[in-house]
Amino acid sequence: MELKKGARVNLTFGNQATVIKELGRGGQGIVYLVDLDGQRMALKWYITPPDEKFYKNLERNIRQGAPSDAFIWPEYLTQKENGSFGYIMKLRPSDYFEFGNYLLARKNFKSFNAMLAAAMKICNGFMMLHRFGYSYQDLNDGNFFIRPTDGDVLICDNDNVMPQGEKSGIMGKARYMAPEIVAGGIPDKYSDRFSLSVILFMLFFANHPFEGAKVVACPCMTETFEKRFYGSEAIFIYSPSDKSNLPVRGVHQNVIKRWPLFPSTLKKTFIDQFSEEKLWHPNTRMIEQEWERIISKVRDELVVCPHCHEETFVDIEDNKFKCINCGDDIDVTKQLKLNNRSLILTAGTKLYINHDNTPDAEVDFFPSDKNLLVIRNLTQSCWHIDTPSGKVKVVNPNEFLPILNGLKISFGSSIKEAAGTKGEVIA
């Protein structure tokens, strides 16, 4: 049963929410704007109520709480009334847009930096979800909402989230599901990991990893064909061993344009994750932490070009240091070494030391000397610097140190979840 404007629904904890208006509807239900004790919230109301198991699962998820702030998580459950039930969640802010909008080129990331932030946030969301013992199950382009300016992500439709090994009955779209799920298996963290790779690929390259020449040649994508192209016969478009499904000029334009621009680290990871071995051996797929490490590595290779001042990738592994916009050489001699990482220091480049999306430092010019580059402390705590001559300096928040060879930085407690990190400036 649909709800009318002004209708009141009873929540299990006793309060009532009042329907203000409909916000949208999908396959399963309708989302209403509701008033709950003076606060505007969203109510997802099922047109036809799912079974008791589903209700109980929702109840449990609400009790457990959201795995991270990336999730618009069910917060309150309604009683079973008016022939159905629903749950209350926070409203999605209006500056977040469905991932599908990015695929349709109606929204674009403001920067590669925002794009990488979105990738990082999605990985982190999935990591936390799996850490809580859940699997996502119903994964597709309608579940993610992304802010184009900074890449912040909200993951929605969390009513289908289930403990590992259980089946919600709501299945994701074949295009986003692992081959074993397309073939009829039960989603779990391993299949979620596959879906994560698909989502990340589409985020970076704005085309689907399995949609190339072979798929375009199929005039009618019936369900049988979908089971083949996304399941039993899935071939990665850049598979080094099978060139039959390469992207098609004029059709898969985004990936053709972007693939050569990204660092080898990222491309090799996708080639590996979409290889036959990973397709057919779910437990060999990369865990989210490893994805975070890869994205962090790619972010280390994202710099601001000193010539055209646009963002560009350098490719440390492949020794390619030409700007992807203006083609000029990027000077990579100035670096910040952090364990096995090398952060390239060019003016305007932001430095991310841990895996969150808050920059910890920024490369800038000395205020009165455009020839002297400095590293600005964007954290909330001070850094200690050991100079080559044995002096110790303190760099307070928003202060800076010069980029001079041999300066050793102790980040102290300034980096969340990475206390004690040390780095050295190479110049």
Binding site: R106, G184, A206, V216, P219, C220, T224, Y230
Partner: protein, 250 residues
Amino acid sequence: MGLLDETVSVPRRTMTLFFLIDTSGSMEGNKIGAVNDAVVNVLPMLNDISETNPDAEIKVAALEFSNGVNWLYDEPKLAKDFIWQDVVASGLTSLGAACSELASKLSRSGGFMQSASGSFAPAIILLSDGGPTDDYNSGLAKLKANNWFKSAIKIAIAIGDDADKDVLKEFTGSSEAVITVHNIDALKQIIRVVAVTSSQIGSKSSTAGEITKQEQVVKDIQDATQNIDGAETSDSTSTIDSSQYIDDWG
């Protein structure tokens, strides 16, 4: 940021939604008025589904059949470009001819299914209030041999009790896919539900797992039908044969 601004839309397949509309004389008056009204109102909804859908865009084609057959446009159109011209009812029910005509257009060469980036299987909605007055069998046989038709989502709306539900069942392949409506309001609502549901499901990548798109559409429509007064799925109309009941007691 130059490079990211050059992003283009992902290639989308096309899902064509076909309306096959009985415009025979018996449809005259309220019935045809309701059909016209319902289709005009559902077109913007289909446009919304199409525009926000990264899997496929939705196109609409409409074939009316009475003494003869007539396509409202000679190619499928995006919902936003489909200007609905009210159809007028008169004449016979050439359902057989409509089936043949549909079969000839469900093809890539010279037909309606020419989309450059490919298609999803179409969704076909048949509306009728009577029974065929022409050679229905050969037309349907031709249609049933068509591969596009075989994989299509097929739903029939039987308007009133005079509709030949056996024929509609044959068309859709199952009695569950035949919805009967008994009043004008139900007709309008059902057209909306059927058009929106079949477009939503038909234009998206299928769900992983056992259930087919056709089954999913039928299930969703059956669920929605329960809330519409004067609409029923064929299953719910099956009543116990009283003569057998009496025989048992005889």
